[in-house]
């Protein structure tokens, strides 16, 4: 008996440094991540900042009832899903096509050159990019409308017109991410066994048939995996992007859940209502993320840890 206790004690002593190492991040994550998670309870409270989290009264689901009786919430949910689905679709297709096209090039130097140019926007913030787009897309002075004007097209108010705004958001999001998004597919393409192409060629397949029968099946599982993993973003319209480019004129088609929550919470100080809206988004997203991770594991043995 004494011996096992002694051994346990030795083991704990040996593990002790590991506990000490992990304590700082444990405490910070506990306070800032779990503290915030605990904070979602204010979605069920008649919250007042003065009374705080523990002093405010619980009122059940009435914040949610109020939230879903706001006329704008349904527009916001519809906008969010529309914009995010288009972004998800384009965010898969364009990088895949780009990777396929780039993969046809043989010169390493040329390939590298194209990659260097298209990866750049990925690393810049939406603040800088919003500044660039506000300048070039301006109907009165931007270069895009200058060029369109020379071709006889009337000026288009890309960021102020409720028809064009969501389209501009989808296109600029894909523009920012497609280059870097293609990295994963390029690495998938290089791992296809060259013997398969040789075999196809011996069988008389031309380049197009090789693409259809060797290349595409070769990256199909990767495309499926990336599609599944992007599912968790279904309620992410892209706060960083939209908040920096939208205006009241395009709320009808461009206001998304995150921007709605921000205005409600930070600008109007409706903390409980905004938290309820945020919790609604988080809960649905969690569901999608869990399903997508499960599918990714089944499909491709993908695990985050």
């Amino acid at each position: 008996m004494g011996k096992t206790r002694r051994r346990n004690w030795d083991r704990l002593l040996r593990e002790l440094p590991l506990y000490i190492m992990i304590v700082p991040s444990f405490v910070l994550v506990l306070v800032y991540s779990y503290g915030a998670m605990a904070g979602v309870t204010i979605a069920f409270q008649k919250f007042s900042p003065a009374k705080g989290l523990f002093g405010s009264d619980f009122i059940g689901f009435s914040n949610f009832v109020n939230l879903f009786s706001m006329p704008s919430i349904w527009t916001v949910i519809r906008n969010t899903i529309t914009i995010s689905l288009w972004k998800m679709g384009g965010g898969i297709i364009v990088p895949v096509v780009f990777a396929l096209l780039l993969n046809e090039l043989r010169g390493k130097f040329v390939k590298r050159g194209f990659q260097t140019l298209v990866y750049l926007p990925n690393f810049l913030s939406w603040i800088v990019l919003a500044g660039v787009f506000m300048d070039i897309l301006s109907p009165s002075s931007g270069i895009v409308n200058t060029v369109l004007g020379n071709m006889g097209v009337a000026p288009i108010f890309f960021l102020g017109d409720k028809f064009w705004f969501p389209i501009t958001m989808v296109v600029t999001e894909i523009w920012k991410g497609f280059g870097f998004g293609s990295v994963i597919y390029l690495s998938g393409l290089t791992s296809i066994d060259p013997a398969l192409y040789e075999a196809a060629e011996i069988d008389g397949a031309n380049r197009w048939q090789q693409t259809l029968n060797v290349t595409l099946p070769g990256i199909a599982s990767l495309v499926a995996l990336m599609t599944v993993l992007s599912m968790g973003n279904v309620l992410n319209g892209g706060f960083d992007q939209i908040y920096n480019m939208y205006s009241a004129a395009v709320y009808e088609t461009g206001d998304i859940l995150d921007t709605f929550v921000y205005r409600l919470g930070i600008e109007s100080a409706q903390f409980a209502l905004a938290t309820a809206a945020g919790l609604f988004k988080s809960a649905i997203s969690l569901l999608f993320v869990l399903v997508s991770y499960h599918l990714a594991d089944r499909l491709a043995g993908y695990r985050i840890y």
């Binding site: 593990e15 994550v29 800032y32 298209v118 603040i127 002075s141 380049r207």
Partner: protein, 299 residues
């Protein structure tokens, strides 16, 4: 593999080059236009004569911006939060990844801690609760509000953890037999081997901190505490009002005002904010690629 260069192949390749060139130009021309505007004369800009080359080349917009305390102040705040933030991130990544890289028998609480961190990736409580925690922990208007809430980047930590697990187990066993404790093993054996993956996560953190803007907007109550990206937002949202509120009346101001306007100065500031990313760009390309493949394929 030999490629037959049939006519159809040649036509395809011509189109392929055309498409790839168009896409590349679409990615880069917006920046070149803005760069050209920043170096152009304000009259040429107003008359919409500036394309991809400066018209009436001058550097007045830059001298003007660099004489403005607002820009320099937010630049310093950004440099400070990036420097402190990256160091804090890196230390916490190492101190968390090492214990979690142990097997269950070496570190019995491993299962609990793994879930503890992974849950934070799966569920985000949203904007307002995060804001309130920062408020109640008294960090409002402090630079630590930009650092502590994201002090441990969990995804980066998992990348490093997986890397350590991929190292040959014999190294640690040899260190253990030689009587090294965990701290010695970590510093003398593991860390030197982790240099490539640590470079990757350092760059993740650098880009994250440099580009971050919305924490500045939420947690700082006055513009003079804004980091650069947050400050830039006030400029791009309303360039004219920024331009009218210029406070520094230096002797050169009148000269500058003859040459620059809201658009050229905004363009100059956007470009200045891009410079650190451009400087790191060669490394970013290399390390973000390996990081991406590490994170998603191997997992």
């Amino acid at each position: 593999m030999k490629i037959k260069t049939s006519t159809s192949r040649k036509v395809f390749m011509a189109f392929n080059y055309l498409i790839l060139t168009t896409l590349s130009l679409l990615c880069i021309l917006p920046f070149i236009n803005v760069l050209a505007i920043s170096f152009s004369d304000k009259i040429a800009v107003t008359e919409r004569r500036v394309g991809f080359w400066p018209v009436g080349f001058n550097t007045a917009a830059y001298s003007f911006i660099l004489s403005q305390p607002a820009f320099l102040r937010s630049l310093l705040i950004s440099l400070e939060r990036t420097a402190i933030g990256v160091v804090v991130n890196l230390i916490l990544i190492i101190l968390t990844a090492y214990p979690l890289s142990k097997t269950k028998s070496e570190f019995r609480a491993r299962g609990f801690f793994s879930w503890f961190y992974v849950v934070t990736i799966l569920f985000s409580p949203g904007l307002i609760p995060g804001y309130l925690v920062v408020y109640y922990t008294g960090l409002m208007n402090s630079i630590w509000a930009l650092i502590l809430p994201g002090a441990l980047p969990v995804f980066s930590m998992l990348v490093v953890m997986n890397y350590i697990r991929g190292l040959p187990k014999e190294l640690e066993e040899a260190a253990y037999i030689d009587g090294a404790n965990h701290v010695q093993t970590l510093i003398k054996v593991i860390l030197p081997l982790c240099a490539p993956t640590l470079a990757t996560v350092t760059l993740f953190s650098f880009v994250g901190h440099w580009n971050s803007w919305y924490d500045g907007m939420m947690y700082m109550s006055t513009v003079d505490k804004y980091p650069l990206q947050t400050y830039l937002r006030t400029v791009i949202i309303n360039p004219e009002s920024f331009f009218r509120n210029v406070t520094n009346v230096s002797s050169n101001l009148a000269v500058y005002l003859g040459l620059v306007n809201a658009r050229t100065t905004s363009a100059a500031q956007l470009f200045l904010a891009m410079i650190p990313i451009m400087l790191a760009y060669p490394f970013l390309q290399k390390h973000f690629t390996t990081g991406l493949v590490l994170g998603s394929v191997k997992g």
